[in-house]
């Protein structure tokens, strides 16, 4: 029996690895997800089979089965209901549940283990799992609330200072405890730590700005993974360790990627600080050219290749579906259409791709930034929708600009750029965009969705 369970965990571990491996191509990714899910079910079922051999009270079994049934149904319903724009919130929420599970596991386990025979290393692991789990739990909930626009950034000194004090306490208290300076039981001590870690999770996410959310979500995701790995270590369960480490690795890779794409260091993101403009923001008056909807429609229809650079503004305006229509109309006229997507377009890594896929855009049309930049000269027209900082040439040629150093989509190298804007407002970084003053750039003012709709109407007539 024992051997069967071990083999089952081995298969589960391999399925996680295989599932992630299959994610490297859009064609196979669906299969990968299924493989990982089946491996997970196997691991859970086999863990239950251990209960059959041991004598486990019925109460415990009934509670567990009930919890699993309700959890499965609610999970399915939430995932069926979610809008693709709300995906970052849902992923944060699910991340919170994983963290919560890790935290509670630590609390219950602390009560079950014999404090005198359990070795120090295992207690430390349990504490590490508890703290990371609790931080992931409350941090993800705050991240979810922020993404939903319910909680504002709080960047006050008090918040940041208290967060640092709590972080210090989470390291210091266990040390003091194990030297016997804090005379309370292990379980009680774990409750205290859980409370501190939960407050820390809140304070940790509060100062982080809205534009930095992709970084935070990735980071919290990786923290949950690490919490899982700690717990797996306590039980010597390889499926848990592997699963946790893979998630931790994925989260950290994405965190680094997002930081690079924004040219921000992780520390600055966490402190919520922005680089200030050095010369006190020299604002030159820009001469811009306006373009009308019919002119836009005309130049799109006479182009051979068109690129669309979508930003989060596109998603806010719910314009991705009309964007898909525009593409179909242009393709009927034998105009090639590509989307060039900046890594931080959206509220989480890869978010924009999902939004466009929902609007029936084939993934072969979705180009990554580097690929788009290489072929930029080929595009006769580039339509920038709801993006600003990611196409600002100041990032390349103005060392004084706050966005300097950020990798951008070099739309200015194309033959014609049309920027759709609501008004002359600035991007997230609050800087003037040098692109607008260039000769090959014109601006189409108006709401992205209604402008696109009118372009589509005009194209049908041409």
């Amino acid at each position: 029996m024992y051997a069967i369970i071990e083999v089952g965990y081995l298969i589960a571990t391999l399925s996680f690895l295989g599932g992630l491996k299959f994610m490297s191509s859009p064609k196979n990714a669906k299969t990968g997800n299924l493989i990982a899910a089946l491996g997970m079910v196997l691991a859970v079922v086999l863990t239950f089979m251990a209960a059959v051999t041991a004598t486990v009270p019925y109460t415990n079994l009934i509670i567990m089965l009930l919890a699993i049934a309700v959890g499965t149904v609610i999970g399915k319903r939430l995932s069926d209901k979610v809008e693709m724009t709300g995906m970052p919130q849902l992923v944060s929420l699910f991340n919170a549940t994983g963290g919560g599970c890790a935290m509670l596991l630590g609390l219950v386990e602390a009560n079950q283990m014999d404090p005198f025979t359990t070795i120090l290393g295992n207690k430390i692991l349990l504490i590490a799992g508890l703290i990371t789990g609790a931080v992931a739990l409350t941090g993800s909930i705050i991240a979810e609330r922020k993404l939903a626009g319910k909680v504002k950034d709080r960047r006050s000194k008090t918040v940041i200072l208290s967060a640092r004090i709590l972080l210090g306490l989470m390291v210091l208290l266990p040390v003091l405890y194990f030297f016997g300076i804090i005379p309370i039981g292990f379980t009680a001590f774990m409750y205290v730590l859980a409370a501190i870690a939960m407050v820390y999770g809140v304070l940790f996410v509060l100062p982080i700005g809205g534009a930095d959310m992709p970084v935070v979500i990735s980071l919290l995701n990786s923290i949950t993974g690490i919490a899982t790995a700690f717990a797996g270590f306590v039980y010597g369960n390889k499926a848990m360790i592997a699963g946790g480490i893979f998630v931790g690795a994925a989260g950290i890779l994405l965190t680094i990627l997002m930081c690079k794409a924004m040219n921000r260091s992780l520390l600055k993101v966490l402190a919520g600080t922005f680089k200030k403009s050095k010369n006190g923001a020299v604002e030159e008056a820009q001469e811009i050219k306006e373009i009308s909807i019919s002119e836009t429609a005309l130049s799109l229809s006479f182009a051979q290749k068109v690129a669309i650079v979508p930003g989060y503004g596109l998603a806010v305006a719910q314009a991705q579906h009309i964007c898909g229509q525009l593409q179909q109309l242009l393709e009927k006229r034998h105009v090639g259409v590509d989307y060039i997507i900046h890594p931080v377009a959206g509220r989480m890594p890869g978010h924009m791709n999902v939004l466009l896929a929902e609007a029936n855009v084939e993934y072969s049309h979705l180009k990554e930034m580097d690929e788009g930049n290489e072929n930029m000269e080929q595009y006769d027209a580039v339509l920038v929708i709801g993006a600003n900082d990611v196409v600002n040439p100041a990032a390349e040629n103005n060392p004084d600009s706050p966005v300097y150093g950020m990798p951008i989509i070099r739309v200015y190298e194309s033959k014609q750029v049309i920027v759709m804007k609501r008004s002359m407002g600035k991007g997230y970084a609050g800087v003037q965009n040098d692109l607008f003053a260039l000769d090959n750039c014109s601006i189409l003012f108006g709401d992205a969705k209604s402008s696109l709709q009118e372009i589509v109407n005009q194209l049908k007539l041409i």
Binding site: P26, N33, T59, L90, C101, T228, F233
Partner: protein
């Protein structure tokens, strides 16, 4: 030292997992980063296994821990089911049409 003796296998295992994990995940294209994250999120729900293991040992009259453990099992399941279902839903949109 006891700790190293008890866990030496796991320590090797963790190191291998870190490298294999980074290698595999670095190959995922940016197009799929959102499903990657939500799929990975679902995988971290394997913490449920730990929650079940500990629930098997809680005495049937320890109501506090039964409640906490029950919530843990519920949250872990929610993480797994929601994560895999929503990833599946997203990936369906990426499959070639027709």
């Amino acid at each position: 030292m006891d700790f190293i003796n008890q866990h030496i296998q796991e320590i090797y295992f963790v190191i291998f997992c870190v490298f294999i994990g980074i290698e595999v995940i670095a190959n995922v294209p940016a197009i799929l980063h959102t499903p990657l994250m939500s799929g990975a999120n679902a995988i971290s729900g394997v913490i449920l296994v730990g929650a079940i293991i500990v629930m098997l040992r809680v005495p049937a009259d320890d109501y506090l821990n039964l409640t906490l453990g029950g919530i843990a099992v519920f949250l872990g399941t929610l993480n797994i089911s929601g994560g895999f279902f929503v990833t599946g839903r997203m990936l369906k949109m990426f499959s070639p049409k027709k």
